[in-house]
Structures are given as C-alpha cells and as structure tokens.
C-alpha cells in the first residue's frame, strides 16, 4: 500500500529523519496516579503497552481515560495544579525522571486530539511541517515537498488537497482536518502515537477512514486510542484496557487489561461484562 511505502522509505522522509524501522518502542505504566489539585482523576494504574500495535482504552465518561493519556506525553502537568505520581517508562526510561525534559518527551510521543486542531493560521502544507520545523530538523530542499506528499498520502488526504496546499488547514472539513493532524504527528516519526477519541466529532465516512489509518499505523507504531465506541475498539485494537469510576468525585481505576478478542468475548470481571453489555456507563 502507498501508506507503508510512504512510511518506510527513508529516502522519502529525509536522511537522519526517517524512523528506525526495527525499533520497538514500549511504554510501561507503573503505579500511576494523576490528580487535579487534591482530587485524583485516575489512580494506581499499571500496564504495559505493546509495541507496533494498537491498544484501546475504553470506559465510561469521566473515568480518567483522557487524563491518563495526557500523562504519557506529559501534557497533564500543563493544567494548573495537576500532579502525577508513579512512573511512565518509554524503553525503560522514566518520563518523569527529573532529568527528562517534557519538550523532548512530546517530540517522541505524538498526540491526536478529540477535536481536530490544525494551526488556524498555517496552510495545509505548513501544518504538516510544523513539527519538523519545531525540531530544527534539516530537510533537503525538495525534502519538504516530498515529506508533505508522503505524509498526506499516508493519511489518504493527498488526492483531495494536492492542488490547494497553500490553503489554511482549517478550511478543510472536520474529517480532513483530523487526518491533517495525524499527518502532522507522523511527519516527525514519533515513537508512540496517542489518540484521544479521534473520531468522536466526525461523520461515519471520516470515522471509517481514520479507523483504517489506525490499523495501518499500528503496524509501525505503538498506538494508544481512547474511544467510547466499543465496536471501534474491537475493530482496531490488539489489546484493550477497561477503566471505570465508582462515582462522581471518585478516581477512575483500571479494571481489566488484556487481548481485545478475549476481553470482548469473555471478560474476567463482572464490571467489564456489564459495561460491554451496555448495563452502565
């Protein structure tokens, strides 16, 4: 597929910029609690994400899925009063080690948000290149054009926008904007890609396109997808983590984590079974 071609060919992504194809980036969460002020939003989470696969986070609204995801790229701490205890290890190094710079973490761990958020004043092309430019990576003169084409092809947007790369990113439809945001993330070849309900503001056709993209990304990247759509989790992920929350003001907890197929067909906890059966949440 064009997608794999685009991601795998180093001559397309520029020397020194293409990702190491053999890398397997593991993310391990150990005893993690994330709070806003004094109240923990999610507590005591320990799990290990498989490399080169999609992991889904599911659970009722307010159980702390977004909060947990945002601790993985150290975006949680941007909220005033937000705190994190425990560890998140990327390839064995704790991201919360005092020597680790959060900016470096975010350059290695990309994120796609619930609402598409291309930079409103940048063109489609400049949106794709925004991350590269931030990281001062050198591109061959023609490298930028090739990269833009490769990334937009990878997200299935190239044919739709190749004649209007100078138009503002926000002039696209919601689904196109979200794909542009994914192109922006994979352009920097991150180790891990985090997605927080990336389809929740999109129509069914766009959702299908993004789901296909997730499956493809999972071949090369360590991908985490938060979703409220159980069918989506079942379709795209290899492993699934189910979280829940006892009530308002209570912290969310990890209930069950395992192979998606097993978790959906034979959940080991009653809470999971109830949730999957639509009995709460």
């Amino acid at each position: 597929m064009t997608f794999e071609l685009a991601l795998r060919a180093p001559e397309l992504t520029g020397a020194g910029h293409g990702r190491d194809d053999t890398a397997n980036h593991r993310l391990a969460v150990v005893g993690l609690t994330a709070s806003y002020g004094r109240s923990p939003a999610i507590t005591e989470v320990s799990l290990s994400l498989e490399s080169r696969s999609v992991t889904a986070f599911i659970g009722p609204s307010g159980c702390g899925k977004s909060t947990l995801l945002r601790t993985f790229n150290r975006l949680h701490e941007v909220t005033p009063g937000a705190r994190v205890t425990g560890a998140v290890r990327l390839d064995g190094i704790d991201l919360y080690d005092p020597r680790v710079d959060p900016v470096t973490v975010r350059r290695r761990i990309g994120m796609v948000f619930q609402r598409p958020n291309p930079f409103p004043t940048l063109s489609i092309r400049d949106n794709v290149l925004a991350g590269i430019r931030l990281q001062y990576r050198r591109l061959r003169p023609s490298g930028a054009d090739e990269l833009v084409e490769a990334m937009l092809t990878a997200v299935g947007l190239w044919d739709e926008v190749k004649d209007c790369l100078g138009r503002p990113g926000i002039s696209l439809s919601g689904g196109q904007q979200q794909r542009l945001c994914i192109a922006r993330v994979i352009a920097v070849a991150p180790d891990v890609i985090l997605m927080d309900e990336p389809c929740s503001s999109l129509d069914p056709v766009s959702t299908a396109a993004i789901e296909e993209l997730m499956v493809n990304l999972g071949r090369d990247y360590t991908v985490v997808v938060v979703t409220h759509n159980l069918q989506q989790a079942a379709r795209v992920s290899r492993k699934t983590a189910f979280f829940t929350v006892a009530g308002a003001g209570e912290p969310g907890r990890l209930v069950e984590y395992g192979d998606t197929a097993g978790l959906f067909s034979a959940p080991s906890k009653a809470q999971t079974a109830d949730y999957l059966a639509g009995r709460f949440g």
């Binding site: 975006l75 005033p80 900016v103 948000f113 930079f119 931030l134 990281q135 920097v188």
Partner: protein, 312 residues
C-alpha cells in the same frame, strides 16, 4: 399534535416587541456614535474653514495654513510613532510575561501596578518628564551625539536640557503602556486552548507556543491596542507641551538636538489663549487635521492586519 396553522399565527406580541426594541436600541447607540463623530468633523470643518483658506492673520505669521499645519502634523505623528515604537514591544513583553511566564499572583500584581499607572493624569507625566527624565537623559544624549552623530537620528548638537522629542516620546510611551499591556494581556489569554495544546503536543517550547499559537491569533488584538495607544499619544497635549521646547515650522527627524518639531495638540493649547478670529479658525482646522491623521492611521493599520493574514 399542534395544528398545522400554528405556522401561520404570529409569535406573541411581547416577544416581537422585545426583539424589535433591542434591535432599535443597538441601532440608535450605533447611530449616536456615528453622528457624534460626524458632528465633530463637520464642526471642525465649518468653523475651521476660514483658517484653511486664510492668507493673512495666521498664527506665527504663517504664509498659509499648510505651511503651519504640515510641521505640526509631522511633529504629532513623529512623537506618537516614536512613543508607540518604544511602548509596543514592552507592552507585548509585559503581556506575554503575565500570561505565560510569571506565576499567576505575580501577573495579577503586575496588572494592578499597571492599572495605577493608567490613572495618573497626564500633567503629572509632563512634570515627571520635564523635571526628572529630561535632566537624566541629557548626558545620554551627549553620549549619543558624540558617538552616533553620523546617524541622522542622532544629529547634534545634543540638547543640554534633555527636553527633546525622544524624551517626550519616552514619557508618552510610559503613559500609553498600561492600556496597551492590558489589551494585549486579554487577547493573549484568549488564545484557544486547543491550539496551544496542539503546539505543546508537538514538542513546542513555551516560546514556540507563543510563536505558533499565541501570536498569530492575538496579533489583531495587539494592533487594536496599539491604535488605542496611538490615538492617545497623537492627541496628548500636556506631555509634549511641557517637555518639548519647540522650534517653529521645523520638520526634522533628529531625536536628541534642541530644535524639535511641535505637535498639533500642544500648539493649540499654547496658542489658543491669545487667539482671535482667523487664528481660532486655524486652530480648529488643525484639530481637523489631527482627527484625519488618527482616522487614516487606524484604517491603514487595519488594512495591514487583514492583508498579512496569518503571517508576520
């Protein structure tokens, strides 16, 4: 089921009246503003007409109106531009610091301090410039004159009293800073959270977040703040009247010598008490010129913002 003919019955009268009255209130408010603005312009035009066309009896024995008006208009514009040139970068810096760099309590403290600065009457600023700033700047001007006189801006001889257009501009800058900083702070604080997070998540440093998210969306507001500052600086009377010792009919860019252009506002204030007949008409016409300058600068600035779009 409601009968289909409810589509044809008018909405309750009360609802329509309220809607209509809100609309007329807003329209009237807008019209009052327009009428007041036009009224001032018409008044200045009609009353100033004799001054615009007079050949004799003008203040300073000027040959005609434009010989008098051009140097003063230049002085007003130049002083305001210099003042803004000094104030805008500081206002932006202060606002960015308040919204992005210092802890919240420190930002609030800074904001409160600036609000006090805004409440000081301009005559006090004038005194401050005249008695405190000017004498302290005199040695600086002497140094600039000695070392940078090759640059036309610093052409000598430097003013010994320090009462130059640069001193006035500095005082103007301090005077317009608070309101500009407050406006910039508001627009920077309004940066969409989603855009900021997009930048952060790509690994942007704080400065890069500002470049990528805060500045592009806040730029237009900064220009608005600058225009507010320009309006105040270009019309400011006391500061320039007290600080500058003007040379009549002078048009010059020199910042540090003792021959400085006067400004329209200061000239009106200084000349009005001993004016009669044509002289008064001339001053009113000068007022119209000031009005036009402010208006044109505003329009041009807005054009520039629109034309540059997301860049800069």
């Amino acid at each position: 089921m409601k009968p289909a003919d409810t589509l044809l019955t008018p909405r309750p009268a009360r609802e329509r009246v309220r809607d209509a009255s809100a609309r007329s209130a807003v329209t009237v408010a807008g019209l009052i503003g327009l009428v007041a603005l036009a009224g001032v312009a018409v008044f200045l035009g009609v009353e100033g007409w004799p001054g615009l066309t007079a050949r004799t009896g003008l203040p300073l024995q000027a040959a005609n109106f434009w010989a008098l008006a051009w140097p003063l208009a230049f002085g007003s514009f130049w002083a305001a531009v210099l003042g803004l040139g000094l104030a805008v970068p500081v206002a932006i810096g202060v606002a960015l610091a308040q919204t992005w760099y210092v802890p919240r309590w420190a930002g609030r403290f800074l904001g409160a301090t600036f609000d006090i600065l805004a409440a000081i009457p301009s005559v006090v600023y004038g005194l401050w410039g005249l008695m405190i700033i000017a004498p302290r700047l005199a040695p600086v001007y002497a140094w600039l004159g000695a070392h940078l006189s090759w640059c036309p801006l610093f052409a000598g001889p430097p003013s010994a009293s320090g009462r130059t257009i640069l001193t006035a501009a500095l005082v103007l800058a301090v005077m317009v800073l608070p309101v500009m900083a407050a406006l910039c702070r508001e627009v920077f604080a309004q940066t969409p959270r989603t855009t900021v997070e997009a930048a952060l998540a790509l690994g942007a440093t704080r400065w890069e977040v500002i470049r990528l998210a805060v500045w592009p969306t806040g730029k237009a507001g900064v220009v608005s703040g600058a225009m507010l500052g320009f309006g105040r600086a270009v019309g400011e009377t006391m500061v320039t009247a007290m600080v500058i010792s003007p040379a009549p009919f002078l048009v010059g860019f020199g910042l540090i010598n003792s021959t400085n252009p006067n400004t329209i506002a200061a000239f009106i204030a200084q000349t009005f008490p001993e004016s009669h007949g044509v002289e008064v008409a001339t001053l009113l016409a000068l007022g119209l010129v000031l009005f036009v300058i402010t208006f044109v600068v505003n329009v041009v600035a807005r054009r520039i913002v629109r034309a540059t779009g997301g860049r800069v």
